[in-house]
Symmetry: C4
Amino acid sequence: MGRYTEIRREAFEANIQIPALGLAIYTFGNVSAYDPDLGVFAIKPSGVPYADLKPEHMVVVDLDNAVVDGDLRPSSDTNTHSVLYRAFAGIRGITHTHSTYATAWAQACMPIPVFGTTHADHLAREVPCTEVMSDAMIRGDYETETGNQILAAFKGLSPAEVEMVLVACHGPFTWGVSAEKALYNSAVLEEIARMALLTRQVNPDAGPLKPSLIDKHYQRKHGKNAYYGQ
Amino acid sequence: MGRYTEIRREAFEANIQIPALGLAIYTFGNVSAYDPDLGVFAIKPSGVPYADLKPEHMVVVDLDNAVVDGDLRPSSDTNTHSVLYRAFAGIRGITHTHSTYATAWAQACMPIPVFGTTHADHLAREVPCTEVMSDAMIRGDYETETGNQILAAFKGLSPAEVEMVLVACHGPFTWGVSAEKALYNSAVLEEIARMALLTRQVNPDAGPLKPSLIDKHYQRKHGKNAYYGQ
Amino acid sequence: MGRYTEIRREAFEANIQIPALGLAIYTFGNVSAYDPDLGVFAIKPSGVPYADLKPEHMVVVDLDNAVVDGDLRPSSDTNTHSVLYRAFAGIRGITHTHSTYATAWAQACMPIPVFGTTHADHLAREVPCTEVMSDAMIRGDYETETGNQILAAFKGLSPAEVEMVLVACHGPFTWGVSAEKALYNSAVLEEIARMALLTRQVNPDAGPLKPSLIDKHYQRKHGKNAYYGQ
Amino acid sequence: MGRYTEIRREAFEANIQIPALGLAIYTFGNVSAYDPDLGVFAIKPSGVPYADLKPEHMVVVDLDNAVVDGDLRPSSDTNTHSVLYRAFAGIRGITHTHSTYATAWAQACMPIPVFGTTHADHLAREVPCTEVMSDAMIRGDYETETGNQILAAFKGLSPAEVEMVLVACHGPFTWGVSAEKALYNSAVLEEIARMALLTRQVNPDAGPLKPSLIDKHYQRKHGKNAYYGQ
């Protein structure tokens, strides 16, 4: 078994789940899996439909965006992934999609408020939204700057506690301790985004969850005395 | 056949229907089945995906929340279930989900008005919504207090006539004479919640159903001269 | 082959399409098929889930609502069907559902305006909505009065040209030259209802289609010089 | 293999994808495939359900709308297709659907603003919407005039750069270098239309994407230095 077999398998399995979970049509999303020991990640090849993907198609790239193994061109979003792997210690998977409701909030350039416990079960604050990029950044190394915009939005935030972000005008990125967890976070974000819009439609004056309830739900799943799960 | 085989089977079969009915993704919901003779209920284990569940995984718990049989940790919502089984005579199944539209009304902290006969076929008044919990309750035995909030919302209401509730900021709980009926009520509630939001979007001035029509539809299915069904 | 075999088969095949087309959950809808020579119709039995239905379960009823063949109790909406078969010459099938968007318009007590050609391809005017029933009618022979309310809404309208109606506070009824066509009309109505709400959400000032365009689309499918289809 | 076998196969395969992609129910959509060397296109027969279609059913028509091969009547929208094939050099496939969200924008008679990069990945300006047709045009050769309205909306626009349009009060037409690409554009348009409505619901003041970002996303997929795909 080659040294990249495992991250290729992880990235492949998460990528093919994107359409199954309804998170993107055609090729509008990608997942990568990172091996911190080797300092490389496996990522979806650019523009290849999910139905045609095989594990060996996953392109292995280092943190300077150089292809170290694979015959195909990596996702056009590769440089955004590498920025996050360099900056966010401990993450081992990243997912980017254009899922419908999360993208609507991103296009509206608005963070998603904590309206309920479904949200607080996963993160204890609003889903952040980046600033809109400057023209200079857009005309520069665009995908790297997309990563930099995410880092700027995470000043003062912990990427281990908030594993998702909306890139303004574009769509969501999520991450986690594995490619599978990053993908899970994309599905959760889509559901949170949908519930949040519907909540405001039911009651335009709906306010955010009270801090004690946010804390309770986040801690029962993620705190040191967590009692959710096995 | 063991004494818990039947309630485990009932709970198992209802739990695996949650994703099939579109009522929750991942592990965001649970069903329990109660045996009043034994004074115990079987409930989904915490954090286990529906696709991995087997009947023997269901955890058997008594009304003081003590595990009496099973190798796994029961749902983190177990204490809420036991409060309801203790207080609501005659119910034998409880379902909790984070279904999208019912959760949106819960997050909006609003009861669902009776806008049509689909609603009145199942209950003759609005779907109640609990008060938001106090910080003291949240920091106490949270899941037991969730049950207590439901009881407070049912002052003057019959749990045999109203088999569903919205827990403010959180999501729906439903119950019934069996686990299967509790699950049915969760699916019906989701559809009622969706229709109610759409009704107000079609006509923001839509008013509630007139009392005679509520009564007619409720009685034809549930009254002593009911003529719906076989 | 018995004299009722054909209408039972037609009613059965249309009824089991209700959940496949997403027009109702559980038992929230029914189709009947009418034989004008025999003066009877076959209708879904009350409260039986679609998955359990067999052709022989269909109950054969005459136009006075007397069961002439079958072991089960007919749909609780049977009397509404018989009113329509008596009054609307030429129809041979009726469908009633609680499909989500059509029901939202019914609960809003509003007719559906002709916003586009999808609507005009099927009927040349708004989908009518009945008046809300009086208390006396509700407390009388309710299901027969539901049919009477539909007849009242059709004063001046041709049931051959307008094959659908919204019963205020309740939901849609549709009909046609066969059970299959009645079912088709229910699916079309649901799509028209959904498009109409979305159209107003895109543009609250959206007006109805101009008369010449309504006429063009209706006539090219239904006029004497129709050129749609084979 | 006959001279029309290939365009019949292309048209057939794209047509049967319409319901699979959720772009239309029943017969509410059609795709054609054009052979510029032969000057003919193969198009869906009128009113035939997708499930009943076979490749040999596709009707071969020339640019004057004369049937040159096939036993069935071609789509009632045939004349609109021929107008576009005559005027838009280089296109080889056209799709027309009544997909729900795109039709809602068409019924609202509004172009779809560029709210995000999903849109800009496919076209660098809003999705145009035609003018409402005059009564004289409607009463004339209606389907040809529908094509003429599209041409009028494309004054100053390149059909190679903008491969989609909304026909006011009616629904979308899309095209491309193949029938498959035309169908792809219909699915993309439906998703763009849905995201655009949701974006405005999240934030009624959402503005269009800045020009530099539109340009960046369009060029990275379609410009001379495009780096998306293999």
